[in-house]
């Protein structure tokens, strides 16, 4: 076929000059041109509907996969940064840093003669597919059915619902493959593989991703109204599967009462399969076969269930009307934006993957509220009874009167209402993440590592070592999430602040209200986590109680700075940088292993970062070793909070009153 595409549209006739010739040529070539294209008629397809239907019947899933891949390409840079950055930092932190604690005779036996790097790398590869699956099969599916209704465009074409399902699965599988290949190359560069078959784990990881992904897809397709189910899924399914599936230590390190999670977890089967392929881990042949069959069985059955749900939802054999197919569009958030948020968040699994999930839940509600007759004002709607005369609306004067009206309460009221109309279980469950980390690593790794020197040099159990650090991380993640994603989303998408600022509220009311809300959330999580620590016998001093205000100080510092930084953000692409900073900080700030494993230069760099100060401060308070160093850490955050607040206030007017 001639490749002479007209580069500009022709005259008002509406038809490129060369199209007639090309249409004739195409028609002859395909032998099925139905159209009677006249000189002035529109360009006719090269073949008729019958041929069109035939082609789609044969290759329809690829046509839909093409769409999905094209969408991924729009944020390709994020995917590439994730695909390269995630293996790098995880292998550096866990494969090298943590490994220094686990070398030695007893552990070599537990690991079956493999180095810790060899042991952990295949599992991290498998888990990256798991995390991607939890992102790609949750929000994008919701987006397809509800927010952007992407699925309803192909629904109107010859493509069948089964092909839409299969096409989506295919596109994501291709992403699994690409991402696993990058991961594999990096881990090979680290010297973590030594089997000629090690490249096959690219496929075992993809299979693992599909095994869990197809079921997440089926689940997501069955949801009609997102009220935080994805956040709960992330916290109570994906996270446990990741943490209790022999990713960081052999399953046998866990008590039998927790081992079963590994047996049913696709992550365990995929990780074990990866280990067999990567360094020839000793595994009975029958068990290897079980791994393969289990993963294939899960993937296939999940795909079949997904096809059935898609088919029903896209019009066939439907038992009840699909509200999304008929009624006016729910003014939802940009699903793909959310999926990207979750995407980035997933690279810091400590606490933020499901925070992003939660953000989406709140986002939906926020948008719903925005669509309503008007946010807070609705609260006191009078009935048909006599309306009392309206009290006079006072306006505060004095310092900062242009910025601050003295009505933070209204902002907080909205936040609590939004919390109530959200799934409150999602809010409460937010503290589950650090607890799961503590359980998994404290028990599983603790039995491998034993004791580490505490703040005063006295050895303390590994669980006691990481618990305060996890609390600090959780405070940071909560604050960063609230002050960046949440603020950015409400500002740009839900337009919550625009509504607020159309009233007498000033920008400072809004900012302080949001920060206070973030602190409330932080206090609830910190207090619950402290209770868990006490129950696990990890609290040895009354000063541990000070960890709660400590967590609030940490949260305040991060929230103030986060808000100021957010004021510079214009697109979601800019938000990437936050995650790019967060993940390494989480993994390297003496969270899971002491700073001493690093060369001196690196140590200085890490000691300049806020999270290290937070972790150290919490560790001191937890065991009751309060020294001048503790005061230094506290001072660091006092300064950070104060500077952040000044900085944020200056930026607020620009952020809100542009």
């Amino acid at each position: 076929m001639a490749e002479t595409f007209p580069t500009t549209a022709a005259s008002s006739g509406g038809r490129p000059a060369s199209s007639s010739a090309r249409q004739d040529a195409a028609g002859t070539a395909q032998g099925g041109a139905p159209g009677t294209s006249t000189a002035s008629g529109p360009l006719q397809p090269p073949f008729g509907p019958a041929e069109s239907a035939r082609r789609v019947r044969r290759r329809g899933l690829w046509y839909f996969a093409e769409h999905q891949l094209r969408s991924m390409r729009r944020y390709g840079s994020v995917l590439v940064v994730n695909a390269v950055g995630e293996p790098l930092v995880y292998l550096l932190a866990m494969g090298l840093g943590l490994a220094t604690l686990i070398s030695g005779g007893a552990s070599a036996e537990v690991l079956g003669g493999a180095t810790y790097l060899q042991f952990i790398a295949p599992a991290l590869l498998a888990s990256s597919a798991l995390m991607t699956a939890s992102v790609e099969f949750s929000y994008p599916v919701m987006d397809g059915f509800k927010w952007h209704r992407i699925y309803y465009a192909p629904q109107a074409t010859p493509i069948s619902p089964a092909q839409i399902t299969a096409g989506h699965l295919t596109a994501v599988s291709l992403r699994f493959l690409a991402q696993s290949t990058v991961f594999y190359l990096i881990m090979t560069a680290f010297g973590a593989t030594d089997s000629p078959w090690s490249w096959l784990q690219v496929f075992s990881a993809t299979l693992g991703g599909l095994a869990i992904g197809s079921w997440i897809m089926a689940f997501a397709a069955s949801i009609r109204d997102e009220k935080g189910q994805f956040a709960l899924l992330q916290r109570f399914v994906v996270m446990p599967l990741f943490l209790f599936s022999a990713t960081f230590y052999p399953l046998t390190q866990l008590p039998l009462s927790l081992q079963w999670i590994g047996w049913i977890s696709p992550q365990w089967h995929a990780a074990q399969l990866g280990r067999v392929l990567s360094y020839g881990m000793d595994n009975p042949a029958w068990l290897t076969a079980v791994h393969v069959l289990y993963l294939m069985g899960l993937a296939a059955s999940g795909a079949l269930v997904a096809v059935a749900i898609y088919t029903r939802r896209l019009g066939w054999r439907s038992g009840r009307p699909d509200p999304d197919a008929v009624v006016t569009r729910t003014k939802g958030p940009r699903g793909s934006v959310l999926s990207r948020r979750a995407e980035r968040a997933s690279s810091a699994p400590a606490a933020s993957a499901s925070s992003a999930a939660e953000a989406a839940g709140e986002a939906t509600t926020a948008a719903g509220e925005a669509a309503g007759p008007g946010g807070v004002a609705v609260v006191g709607t009078p009935g048909t009874a006599a309306v009392p005369p309206m009290p006079e609306i006072t306006v505060r004067t004095g310092a900062l009167s242009g910025m601050y009206s003295g009505n933070i309460r209204a902002v907080l009221e909205r936040a609590f209402l939004s919390l109530k109309s959200n799934n409150w279980a999602v809010f409460v469950s937010g503290f589950a993440e650090p607890v799961l980390y503590l359980l998994s690593l404290g028990i599983g790794l603790g039995s491998l590592i034993g004791e580490l020197p505490g703040p005063d040099g006295e050895p303390i159990p590994y669980g006691m070592y990481i618990a305060p650090a996890l609390l600090a991380v959780s405070a940071m993640n909560g604050a960063v999430y609230d002050s960046t994603w949440n603020v950015f989303f409400k500002l740009r998408y839900a337009k919550t602040y625009q509504t607020m600022l159309a009233t007498r509220l000033g920008p400072l009311d809004v900012a302080l209200g949001e920060i206070l809300m973030a602190l409330f959330r932080g206090a609830v999580y910190a207090a619950s986590f402290l209770i868990v620590m006490a129950l696990m016998g990890l609290v040895t001093s009354w000063t541990a109680l000070l960890m709660v205000p400590g967590a609030l100080l940490v949260a305040f510092g991060f929230a103030a700075v986060g808000m100021a930084v957010t004021s510079y953000m214009k697109t979601f692409q800019h938000m990437d940088w936050i995650m790019i900073v967060m993940l390494p900080m989480f993994l390297f700030s003496a969270t899971f292993f002491p700073l001493q494993v690093y060369p001196t230069g690196v140590q200085w760099f890490i000691q300049a970062l806020p999270l290290w100060h937070a972790v150290e401060m919490m560790r001191h308070l937890a065991v009751g070793v309060v020294t001048w160093a503790t005061a230094g850490h506290i001072l660091y955050f006092v300064v950070m909070a104060a500077a952040g607040l000044v900085f944020a206030s200056r930026r607020l007017a620009r952020l809100f009153l542009r």
Binding site: G14, P45, A50, S71, Y152, A153, A156, P158, W316, R334
Partner: protein
């Protein structure tokens, strides 16, 4: 075109028989043929036995209030919703037997835009064309042609997200034409558009009709139906209430002219009683704010009202307006004035 008479407010099974005869008369094959089409969702009967015959090249309208079953019907016609009962053939094919084959003939403009807002206007057209298995060698020039058709040439590389409501709607319509469909289904194509955008769309749809594309559309706008539709049916409660050409429907269900009189909010009812007895009015409707008098000549009615007012039988009207009867009158007469939902 003939039509059957019926009293307002009751389903008219015979109306569609007439439509059938007409269809059979003008052309041997119908583009759409439906008999006793039903769709139940549990206890809720969205569509309760609809007969349709749409002939090649015509513009056929489905009118009805919200919740009348229009969209459900459209989705069955588009081959994306399974019918509960009845017969249906689109281009001679039963969508239930071979959905892909049916949909390969169609262009569908859904009620809600479902563009991929992450993609550019051009990419939306390309990707949609791929869904029909069309090659890029055709789609690349075709997308330019369609962008021009939709007056979006300079927005080709703009993300759909950034387009205005009217632009999005035009893009959705252009997208539906990517496979040069013989049958175009439009579900409320102009809802939410400003008058300029509506007129542009009407012009585009009219051009398609001139090319011989069969159009089926639903709408709330009676002027739109009058402008575009050769034939239409009024649907309410999942059933056809009336069928025919716009002119015939007006003639049959309304009258030639209408006089709208306002006596004042509390006096309309009483005045209507008198007028019903004393004037030669075909039909009288009392609304909260005014009284509508349907008759052959509105000026005669107005003279009668003036005479009654002078005689003191009714209060003097605040305002009086004469106009021609429209499809809107037919619609309201047939489907009532109370809010459905």
């Amino acid at each position: 075109m003939s039509h059957t008479t019926s009293s307002a407010g009751t389903p008219v099974p015979s109306a569609t028989e007439t439509a059938t005869e007409t269809a059979a008369g003008t052309s041997g094959t119908s583009v759409i043929r439906a008999r006793g089409l039903r769709k139940h969702y549990g206890d809720f009967h969205a569509v309760q036995g609809i007969d349709l015959d749409v002939t090649p090249g015509e513009c056929f309208g489905l009118l009805g209030p919200n919740g009348a079953g229009k969209s459900t019907t459209m989705r069955m016609l588009a081959g994306v919703s399974q019918r509960t009962a009845g017969e249906l053939s689109i281009m001679g094919i039963d969508p239930e037997e071979d959905g892909p084959a049916v949909r390969a003939h169609l262009g569908v403009v859904p009620q809600q835009d479902n563009l991929d807002e992450e993609l550019t206007a051009r990419d939306n057209l390309l990707i949609y064309g791929r869904y029909f298995g069309l090659p890029y060698s055709y789609l690349k020039p075709k997308s330019l042609e369609l962008l021009e058709f939709a007056q979006l040439t300079d927005k080709a590389d703009t993300k759909a997200d950034a387009l205005s409501g009217g632009m999005k709607r035009r893009l959705v319509i252009a997208r539906a034409l990517v496979n040069e469909p013989q049958l175009l289904l439009l579900d409320e194509p102009t809802t939410g558009l400003d008058p300029q955008a509506r007129h542009i769309l009407w012009d585009r749809l009219y051009r398609l009709k001139e090319r011989g594309t069969t159009l089926v559309l639903t709408t709330h706008y009676m002027d739109e139906a009058e402008q575009l539709c050769d034939r239409l049916v009024v649907v309410d409660g999942g059933q056809i209430m009336a069928a025919g050409t716009p002119q015939a429907l007006i003639r049959e269900h309304a009258s030639r002219e209408v006089l709208e009189v306002r006596f004042g909010t509390d006096r309309n009812e009483a005045a209507a009683e008198v007028l019903r007895a004393e004037t030669r009015v075909h039909r009288i409707e009392v609304l909260p704010d005014r009284v509508l008098l349907y008759g052959d000549r509105a000026d005669e009615l107005q003279d009668a009202v003036t005479a009654l007012a002078e005689a003191g039988r009714v209060t003097a009207p605040v305002t009086a307006l004469t106009r021609r009867a429209s499809l809107e009158d037919v619609f309201l007469i047939l489907t009532g004035r109370t809010l459905v939902d």
